[in-house]
């Protein structure tokens, strides 16, 4: 062996342990009591939304849905570290981050059903519609982040993928582009242990997913993804770095999805054991944070019950709004292909509507 030309480390971040005790005071984020309570409310809402969405999917009232329970700390904590002007570029599971970044809930229900209105993000909301192709959003995020840099705006773009997404070429291409341009991007990987059925250890020989940053020349950090304060601390630091012009960061949040990959027929009992699930449930992000907040006198069962009831109302309202959306037509689809439909599309439209072309 010759001399060592380069050495790297991957830091691990955890603020609260499984019992809700602070493990690293240095990393404890500077958040107000209201902000801490808001984080808890959002996690509770997300858990209720997930339970409801699963039921609605089984009833045929939603289309595509990927359950999120278990990942609340990763999702809510990471989005909480961004500003409204920052861009959120989600994968298909990342609906909670979209909601809290301003994406109306009823539109996400419409998105789930395949309604075009579900992708029409309001003008003042910087969210992309959830991405289906694994990893495709990573290179796009490099572009969105570079756009902020070229415009001289101090905003950042954060994007999400799972452990499987880190195997895609686009994952590396996106990190590498952002690194080369020092684009203000945060690449957030939710390592929920399974890419559908393939466990993390069969996904890659890499010891951590965070170390994949090293090849792109950017910092990689692993965080306890069941610890909302740890997630917030890691992402906030990455966001601050990006805003300061220091370039992108990769964050691997080690987490777990309790449910199936999606509601389209996946059966987790085929590829993981009850014991594994029980181990992860002991680390539950809501239980952990609830303990922490309760001990600080910031949370109570009553308050949680109120949040749950309010969540149910909010979800029902959004469902009603989605149900009342105007039915989508094939002509709408044709009209959305180009700014001005081509002659061929005008003809095809006329064939469908029975009206004369032009």
């Amino acid at each position: 062996m010759g001399k060592t030309v380069s050495e790297h480390t991957v830091p691990y971040v955890q603020v609260l342990d499984e019992n809700g005790k602070v493990t690293d005071k240095e990393l404890l984020p500077n958040l107000t009591d209201d902000q801490l309570r808001e984080m808890m409310k959002r996690m509770v809402f997300t858990r209720i939304l997930d339970q409801r969405a699963i039921k609605l999917t089984r009833q045929g009232r939603l289309g595509f849905y990927a359950p999120v329970a278990g990942q609340e700390a990763s999702m809510i904590g990471s989005e909480f570290a961004t500003d409204k002007e920052d861009f959120v570029v989600p994968g298909y599971r990342d609906l909670p981050q979209c909601v809290y970044h301003g994406y109306p809930l009823y539109k996400l229900f419409l998105y789930s059903r395949g309604h075009q209105e579900g992708g029409r993000v309001p003008e003042d909301v910087n969210v992309m519609m959830p991405q289906i192709i694994i990893g495709a959003q990573i290179v796009q995020t490099a572009g969105i982040a570079l756009g902020y840099k070229l415009k001289g705006e101090k905003h950042i773009a954060i994007t999400y993928t799972g452990d499987g997404g880190t195997s895609q070429g686009d994952f590396y291409e996106g990190m590498n582009f952002a690194g080369a341009y020092k684009a203000p991007a945060v690449f957030f990987v939710q390592n929920n242990q399974y890419a559908i059925s393939v466990p993390r250890e069969k996904q890659t020989a890499a010891e951590t997913l965070a170390q994949k940053a090293i090849a792109a020349g950017i910092p990689g950090v692993q965080v306890d993804g069941m610890d909302i304060l740890g997630v917030y601390a890691a992402v906030k630091q990455a966001v601050d770095r990006a805003r300061a012009g220091e370039g992108p960061t990769l964050i691997e949040a080690v987490t777990f999805r309790y449910g199936p990959h999606t509601m389209s027929g996946d059966d987790p009992t085929r590829y993981r054991t009850k014991e594994t699930e029980a181990t992860w449930e002991k680390r539950d992000p809501l239980v952990r944070f609830r303990t922490y907040l309760t001990e600080k006198g910031l949370w109570s069962d009553d308050e949680e019950q109120q949040v749950i009831e309010a969540a149910k109302d909010t979800i029902n309202e959004a469902l009603k709004q989605a149900d009342n959306a105007e039915k989508m037509k094939v002509e709408d689809l044709i009209d959305a292909m180009f700014e001005e439909p081509t002659t061929a599309l005008k003809r095809q439209r006329a064939e469908i509507t029975g009206e004369g072309a032009n």
């Binding site: 029409r120 992309m128 290179v139 291409e173 582009f177 180009f338 081509t342 002659t343």
Partner: protein
């Protein structure tokens, strides 16, 4: 008016658009300091700076994904795929991402992206450089495909493409880059996308073609006139997605016969689509089946037998003779 080659006309068009609209960005592999492997972007980085004209890491999906993100941010990206044979690497970002952005976002975002790329045979490139892959994008809803055949057209079409608010794939035939010069006005002018050009009038057969095959077809038509006294009308499509079927139909109403000439392999590409559209729109004006002139359905044979594989003037003449004998 200046005499320009196609590559000069392209550089000139890019220069004009960079000057006119600060949202226009040029990027790709080697396009900056080096000015592109064909020098299409020569001098532009020096003139407009590294924020406007820049080199990318070597990754095609990354290049088009970057364009997608920049488009979301309000820029008008003009990314270059160094050779079109490399487009498979970027296929998802073109067909599944950029082409669907307007639809997926219900119009909130759109992709005014012009993807430039050299392609086309007869110039002895290595494998997967010359391939005519344009047909793949005819079945990709949401993108336009433009292929100029002259320096004049290249400038006018490229200006239209960059100003278009939807994604355009702009393919530049390598053999045409420096094969001839033409008078190209210094000032701005645009040629509408989706409109074909009748480059030679005739009454006996319609030749529908595009790209480098326009020149081959014109020469064949001239030779045919000399040999047989018959006049072929030559239509340069300029844009193959969408196809200007109105111009084709009007010509067939006059000639009653047609052949389609393409450099791409035969099956399921632009030629097949043209024949299908003729069938739908002009069959009662036809006196014979529409014939296709193209290479066979094989991989592109880089190197040794390129010239035998590519459609020749003789092949076009043979099809003309055949279609009038049917």
């Amino acid at each position: 008016m200046a005499q320009m080659t196609m590559i000069q006309a392209i550089t000139h068009a890019l220069d004009l658009e960079l000057a006119r609209d600060e949202k226009v960005l040029l990027f790709g592999e080697d396009v900056g300091n080096n000015g592109g492997v064909f020098r299409a972007t020569e001098g532009l980085q020096k003139k407009y700076g590294e924020d406007r004209v820049f080199d990318t890491p070597l990754a095609e999906s990354g290049i088009i994904g970057l364009a997608n993100g920049l488009a979301v941010q309000g820029f008008r990206p003009v990314p270059e795929i160094q050779f079109f044979g490399f487009v498979f690497e970027a296929f998802d970002q073109i067909a599944s991402q950029i082409a669907r952005l307007r639809y997926r976002s219900g119009g909130r975002f759109h992709a005014p992206v012009t993807i430039r790329s050299p392609f086309g045979g007869g110039v002895r490139t290595p494998e997967l450089h010359s391939d005519s892959l344009e047909g793949l994008f005819l079945q990709s809803p949401g993108v336009k495909v433009v292929i100029p055949s002259t320096p004049y057209d290249a400038k006018g079409l490229l200006l239209s493409a960059i100003r278009d608010n939807d994604p355009v794939i702009f393919l530049e035939h390598m053999r045409l880059y420096r094969s001839f010069r033409q008078e190209v006005p210094e000032e701005e002018y645009t040629i509408p996308l989706g409109k074909a050009n009748v480059v030679r009038e005739g009454k006996d057969v319609t030749i529908v073609t595009y790209g480098a095959m326009v020149g081959v077809s014109q020469k064949a038509a001239d030779q045919w006139a000399k040999d047989k006294g018959l006049q072929a009308e030559v239509i340069d499509l300029r844009t193959i997605s969408p196809i200007d079927i109105e111009t084709i139909t009007a010509s067939i109403e006059k000639t009653g016969r047609a052949i389609v000439v393409q450099e791409a392999q035969r099956s399921a590409g632009a030629g097949a689509e043209i024949v299908a559209q003729i069938n739908e729109n002009a069959i009662f004006h036809l006196e014979a089946p529409v014939l296709r002139v193209s290479p066979p359905d094989t991989v592109y044979p880089f190197g040794l037998i390129e010239d035998e594989w590519l459609p020749t003037q003789q092949a076009v003449l043979a099809a003309l003779n055949k279609v009038v004998s049917l």
